[in-house]
């Protein structure tokens, strides 16, 4: 029996197929979920992939937050189910308040698409166990609303509790406070990040490296040990 990882598609999601492929590449079963389904089909974990759900019309991720599937995701996440939000998925997680803070337009106002160096600051979350503490990874980044903000009190709390999971290395591409690229909730089962690990799981595409594969193998480790 292999672990079942749900990948949600909202109207405007772009990276659901890449994410499903990454899940399969890691040896897991990918279960497509539709934004209007309340039923999570008994998946072991859920990924909210990148894209522009509902066109980001109000704010990035704001409208998806009220879709039927998210009610179930919020309930399950609070009960401990692993949830990963990538890019737009991270924006949705902040809008649901499963993760603190908010995402804003990049400080330079440009859409960016680049290979981005990250430092893994916490290798103990559900989604980062295949990495080493302090490991440097290189995965693609592509967004226009990638500037992470939160008030000082929340930022201090995130730092103190080890919930800054990834930091931008060498270059902060969007003005995110304290170079934050990804964070987790207090329990470590919910993780969000702006760069795209699902685009770096096979040597032929993306960065030419497979630095993103660790996210998907991490979840297998977590589910096997749970």
């Amino acid at each position: 029996m292999t672990a079942r990882i749900g990948v949600i598609t909202f109207p405007g999601t772009l990276d659901d197929r890449d994410t499903q492929r990454a899940v399969r590449t890691a040896g897991l079963e990918a279960v497509p979920l539709w934004h209007r389904d309340k039923d999570l089909k008994q998946v072991d974990a859920v990924i909210l992939p990148g894209g522009f759900s509902y066109g980001d019309y109000l704010r990035a991720g704001a409208i998806s937050r009220f879709s039927p599937v998210m009610e179930s995701v919020i309930d399950q996440a609070k009960a401990g189910m692993p949830v990963l939000g990538i890019c737009n998925g991270f924006q949705v997680l902040t809008e649901t308040h499963l993760l603190p803070g908010a995402m804003l337009r990049n400080n330079h106002l440009h859409f960016i698409c680049r290979d981005q160096k990250l430092r893994v600051e916490n290798a103990e979350t559900a989604w980062t166990r295949s990495y080493e503490q302090g490991q440097e990874i290189n995965i693609p980044l592509k967004n226009i609303d990638g500037r992470y903000v939160a008030d000082e009190r929340v930022l201090d709390e995130l730092e103190a509790e080890g919930r800054v999971v990834f930091r931008y290395e060498e270059l902060n591409p969007n003005g995110s406070l304290r170079d934050i690229a990804g964070i987790s909730n207090a329990a470590g089962n919910v993780v969000g990040l702006m760069p795209h690990p699902e685009h770096a799981v096979e040597p032929l595409i993306g960065t030419g490296r497979t630095d993103g594969l660790g996210f998907f193998t991490s979840i297998l480790k977590r589910l096997v040990s749970a």
């Binding site: 109000l58 803070g101 908010a102 337009r105 106002l109």
Partner: protein, 94 residues
């Protein structure tokens, strides 16, 4: 039908690069003396039925849960009185 206006602005402490880009363009266009620009959103809600306290409370809830992200934004709710008449501020949130 009555119109209720919800204005949403980034909180003062949040960097607004869009507003800054507009402000920096002004001198190039020959408009001097504008020290700062901040950009926000305005929602005009056409309300069926009377805009009583209950209706305003509902709109307030819409603004707080959906139209504004109160982590980064402030909002205000105003009822527009009559055709093109001035507006009455009924609630300002910080």
């Amino acid at each position: 039908m009555a119109r209720v206006v919800v204005d949403v602005m980034l909180k003062p402490e949040i960097l607004d690069p869009q507003g800054q880009a507009v402000q920096r363009a002004l001198p190039r266009l020959g408009f001097e003396g504008i020290a700062d620009v901040r950009q926000g959103k305005r929602f005009e809600l056409e309300v069926e039925g009377p805009v009583d306290d209950a209706a305003l409370a509902r709109i307030h809830e819409i603004a707080e849960t959906f139209l504004a992200n109160t982590v980064i934004e402030d909002f205000s709710v105003k009822v527009e009185v009559g055709e093109g008449a001035d507006t009455t501020a009924v609630k300002a949130e910080s």
